[in-house]
């Protein structure tokens, strides 16, 4: 068992460090390639532009919830209420927007603020009352779903107007020129950042990473973005939903890696006692993480409602939570805290949604789908546990 752990750690350990996860994507990328080959050969529609566009749409909502999960998982905690909170926020937003006739933007604002308060409540119960986060959010899982059903009342379903702001949110497609422009800007910004970093490091007489590695990474990024834009433009175009999700991922990643708050998140996740002694306000970090998790869950719920153009009794229920947690872990976020990046949500949801999408195309029964999804999650967590056990002390 030990040798197995060491074997597993060898390829994983340098990839999972907080600072250098650039290689960490490779196992997931390999997994994606396998998924593409397997489902592509079983069903010729899997790799079609239309299906890949659907995949991009399906990813955004659960992926955003998964981003929130990452916030608490980085602290070594868990948020089981994310699915219910996403459904509740979508219902609050829809009731204000449709039944009360509010403008969509304030309705969304109220829903997000409500979710942030829910997250703060979870955080307060966890930090002040000392309840395990597992129990707090398990209560949330049931309680907030109950509140959602209560608010929905006997009707059960509220439709969003098809020509309204919210429904159009998920039916907006970037024209090809805009998509290419955004892709070019991203590559340009990353290039500028990389070159600036090299220059500053040279000026400070610090070791400079090889230019070749930077060039390769930029090449890979440019290639990946070009592939995405080409494929999606061949169908309806790049969906706005994907752009929103991508922007959230990038924003969260920059926050986690380059701000004092992000550094303190990793510190609390790695060793809360050491963080406390270093003068970090651990309670504040935890409260913010729980509030951010619920807020991001609400964002995901609103995106899901937009895609469905309705909210109903199953909003945010069934396997939403499982998929979101699985995505975070598959993407390389450690459930033991302190390790992982925001990109985990993007990569993880890509894997898990591809599997789900592929099985749906093959008309696999939902019973089998659940079992496969659970197996993928279990394998990802097992790898995480073994990698942790194999760490040198």
């Amino acid at each position: 068992m030990t040798s197995l752990a060491v074997l597993l750690r060898k390829p994983l350990s340098p990839l999972r460090g907080a600072g250098r996860t650039d290689l960490g994507a490779w196992p997931v990328v390999a997994g994606l390639a396998v998924i593409a080959v397997v489902f592509g050969s079983l069903n010729d529609r899997f790799l079609s532009a239309e299906n890949l566009t659907n995949l991009a749409l399906q990813m955004a909502a659960t992926g955003t919830i998964s981003l929130g999960i990452i916030m608490v998982v980085l602290l070594g905690e868990i948020d089981l209420s994310a699915g219910s909170v996403s459904g509740l926020a979508a219902v609050i937003m829809t009731i204000l927007y449709v039944n009360r006739g509010w403008d969509p933007v304030p309705a969304i604002g109220v829903a997000l603020a409500g979710a942030a308060l829910i997250g703060l409540l979870h955080g307060w119960m966890f930090t002040r009352l000392g309840m395990p986060s597992f129990v707090v959010t398990l209560a949330g899982l049931i309680g907030w779903q109950g509140l959602m059903l209560y608010l929905l009342g006997s009707g059960g379903t509220i439709n969003l107007p098809f020509d309204g702001f919210l429904a159009r949110l998920s039916d907006t497609w970037l024209p090809a020129w805009a998509a290419w422009l955004i892709a070019a800007l991203i590559v340009a910004a990353w290039t500028a950042g990389g070159l600036l970093n090299h220059r500053l490091r040279r000026a400070a007489d610090l070791p400079v990473p090889s230019s070749l590695a930077l060039a390769l990474r930029l090449g890979a990024l440019a290639l990946a973005l070009a592939a995405v834009v080409t494929v999606l433009s061949a169908d309806r175009g790049v969906p706005l939903l994907l752009v929103i999700f991508g922007a959230l991922v990038v924003a969260l990643d920059l926050t986690l890696r380059h701000t004092v708050f992000g550094r303190h998140m990793y510190a609390v996740g790695g060793n809360a006692e050491a963080a406390r002694r270093a003068g970090i306000n651990v309670t504040r970090i935890r409260l913010i993480a729980f509030a951010a998790a619920s807020t991001l869950a609400a964002c995901g719920g609103i995106l899901a409602a937009s895609r469905l153009a309705a909210v109903n009794q199953s909003s945010g229920s069934s396997d939403t939570l499982l998929m979101a947690i699985a995505a975070a872990v598959i993407g390389g976020t450690s459930l033991f805290g302190g390790r992982g990046r925001a990109y985990a949500a993007l990569l993880g949801i890509l894997v898990i949604q591809s599997i789900t999408n592929g099985m749906l195309l093959l008309n696999v029964d939902s019973s089998v789908r659940y079992m496969v999804t659970a197996a993928v999650l279990a394998v990802a967590v097992a790898l995480d546990s073994l990698a942790r056990r194999g760490q040198p002390r």
Binding site: G17, R201, R263, N271, G338
Partner: protein, 239 residues
């Protein structure tokens, strides 16, 4: 520089410290030794501001000072490296050195400035770590101890207290850490080392202070003392 006079501290029925005095002059390594329950930890807690003594006086440069909180101690330039090091194993060396005291512009980390200072600090202490950007979990015990000690120096303290710095280390790593302690002394810092290991104590200290049952039980110039005399002071026997 820092000196404690007739410090007493009582926990309920236990008199942990009973009129203990300790002087920490600059550029000297003082070893604090004693059996379990002799009051070493309590004295360290008093000096690092964790515990307030019932009685006694703490002076810095001849002026009485108050060490009410760990923050007070840090402000007065007293830095403590606890036995458990308190490092975040998932963060790299740079992040650990500046933990809680990150160099920033607004809220954005200044990675390059921190890495430059970290390399300068580790270089001046002759601490060799091949790659300071790897998580601390990848380092050896001696390297971690060195990082913890270097971190104590980030705030430019005048007094460094090391609690059992060699307890968990092998022979070679112990030698590294003892070298590092000598370099702290050469920088003109006052160093207090708490240790159970008399061999290490004799190797690194200039002066040995013995506590026994909460009282001063002997004080030796290391070079002029015999191991038997120190052991006798610790156990209360006669040499």
């Amino acid at each position: 520089m820092l000196s404690a006079h007739t410090i007493s501290k009582r926990y309920g029925a236990v008199q942990a410290l009973d009129g203990v005095s300790l002087d920490l002059p600059p550029g000297e390594v003082v070893a604090l030794v004693g059996d379990n329950g002799a009051g070493k930890s309590t004295l360290v807690k008093v000096l690092s501001g964790v515990v307030t003594p019932d009685d006694g006086l703490i002076e810095q440069d001849g002026r009485p000072v108050r060490l009410g909180t760990p923050h007070d101690a840090q402000r007065l330039g007293v830095s403590t490296v606890h036995q458990d090091l308190a490092l975040c194993e998932n963060l790299d060396v740079v992040a650990n050195l500046f933990l809680g005291d990150e160099r920033r512009r607004w809220s954005v980390l200044r990675h390059i400035r921190m890495e430059r200072s970290a390399r300068d600090l580790l270089g001046s202490l002759d601490v060799r770590i091949r790659d300071i950007r790897v998580p601390v979990a990848m380092l050896s015990g001696g390297q971690r101890q060195s990082v913890a000690i270097a971190r104590a120096l980030v705030g430019e303290p005048r007094v460094v207290i090391l609690d059992e710095p060699t307890a968990a280390l092998g022979v070679e790593q112990t030698a590294q850490v003892l070298d590092l302690i000598r370099r702290l002394r050469d920088r003109g810092l006052a160093v207090l080392v708490i240790s159970h290991n008399l061999a290490d104590v004799r190797a690194v200290s200039d002066r040995i202070v013995v506590l026994r049952l909460g009282r001063n039980a002997g004080e030796f110039r290391t070079t002029e003392s015999t191991p038997e005399a120190v052991v006798a002071a610790i156990t209360g026997g006669t040499p």
